[in-house]
Symmetry: C2
Subunit: 254 residues, 2 copies
């Protein structure tokens, strides 16, 4: 147990990041790297207090939020345990598809089909919260898992907020990770639809006409402005979205 706790020395009380967040990150890392395996018992709150020299409320907040996010399970009177790993791509987490693919042991690659400027039509203008006719940056790319297309990405970006977007090489870095490095999103909106792809989409994703697709649209805000609106299309045969949660009272409330 000592060895486990000792490696917590990453906690830095003078860091700009809050303590509870540093603790969450550390535990998250330990679980994702399988240093702490599924079902394993975590150190108790009091043990963590002693090891990290922070107050119990700070530890408690970190563990409570990790529970709410489904990463650990806690049993009153017993202890805290690493939760079972979810088997599906997360629905609400803002994950980079490249990281998601490589994490599952597959090879990720992507091909940029378009990277240019487009004028906003009525619908795009409304969703990006700009005037009609505003020029926006546009990216169209296909993502592959072991050379099989799994996602078609169509992304609009506000050029005022990300002026250097067109200069990036999105066959190397994904747009998600680039934007995450530039922005700290403060709000997100997700909409999921089932669609029947048109023939061009079928070609790009190399699927038969008649196969339905899952379409996930995400808008991201920073400082009350829409930074980007991305529509991701997944062949339903190759991908599904899911999430497993601990339930809190809000989710049950009528």
């Amino acid at each position: 147990m000592n060895a486990i706790i000792d490696s917590f020395d990453a906690i830095d009380k003078s860091a700009p990041q809050p303590l509870y967040q540093q603790i969450k990150n550390t535990i998250h890392r330990k679980i994702k790297s399988s240093e702490w395996k599924s079902g394993q018992k975590l150190p108790s709150e009091n043990e963590l207090v002693a090891a990290l020299q922070v107050s119990r409320m700070t530890i408690h907040r970190a563990l409570r939020e990790l529970t709410q996010e489904g990463l650990i399970k806690r049993v009153h009177g017993i202890g805290s345990f690493v939760a079972d790993a979810p088997r599906h791509a997360s629905l609400i987490e803002l994950r980079d598809i490249a990281a998601e693919v490589t994490e599952s042991g597959k090879q990720h690659s992507s091909r940029v089909l378009a990277l240019n400027t487009k004028l906003a039509d009525e619908a795009i203008a409304r969703s990006m919260q700009v005037a009609r006719g505003t020029s926006l940056y546009f990216l169209n790319a296909v993502h592959y898992q072991d050379d099989i297309p799994i996602q078609l990405e169509a992304r609009y970006v506000n050029p005022e907020l990300v002026p250097n977007f067109l200069q990036q090489d999105f066959s190397v870095t994904t747009s998600t990770s680039f934007l995450l490095s530039q922005f700290r999103p403060q709000e997100m909106e997700h909409i999921v639809r089932a669609i029947m792809p048109d023939t061009r989409t079928c070609t790009k994703l190399r699927i038969e006409p008649g196969e339905p697709c899952l379409q996930l649209s995400r808008r991201t805000w920073s400082n009350n402005q829409v930074v980007t609106h991305v529509t991701m299309t997944y062949p339903s045969s190759r991908y599904d979205l899911g999430a497993r949660y601990a339930v809190n009272d809000f989710q049950m409330r009528q």
Copy 2:
């Protein structure tokens, strides 16, 4: 302001429910009933402390969790505000479809197509975490919004946990609200897929063959046992799923 705060008198320090939860519920109710309207400023933490006679940390926890759930927005140094109402059915909230429909001003009705006992095949047994061949309760129902089918529900229920399931009249009460009244779910799993409905499903939902559907599968646990596994099929033309969140650091983490 006094009138607003005065009506908080529902807080009961000797109630079994935690104080922060009572506060969350009260605020939730005020927002959902439009007593507090979108964009309106909430009383400050200190005002709530004075009005409710609880400590600021308790108020703060309630407001923080409401923020995380997207019901309110908070601005450092400014105050707390009622968030804009989301325009879509929530993805993760366990909502009753009847409540959702009636809340939008439409008429909900439902028709039970089957309510019986089925033996678990391999797939169902695995998802319900029971032995193959175990008998399970099964419900098949269609939900209508103003007489237009919007959801096909196929639900398996563990009969050991809900022995009186078959005795219910699910044309009056929805299965969701009945199960919620019997159980406090502790964990949920959601999986979203795009599917092409078979002809029987098309008939039940009164859609043209060739229209894709969104399929949301949900498993609910209580005491580490699967209580129910429901598959809900929505015609994509009549429904989409969405959610808008405040982003916390977890969702951004790579």
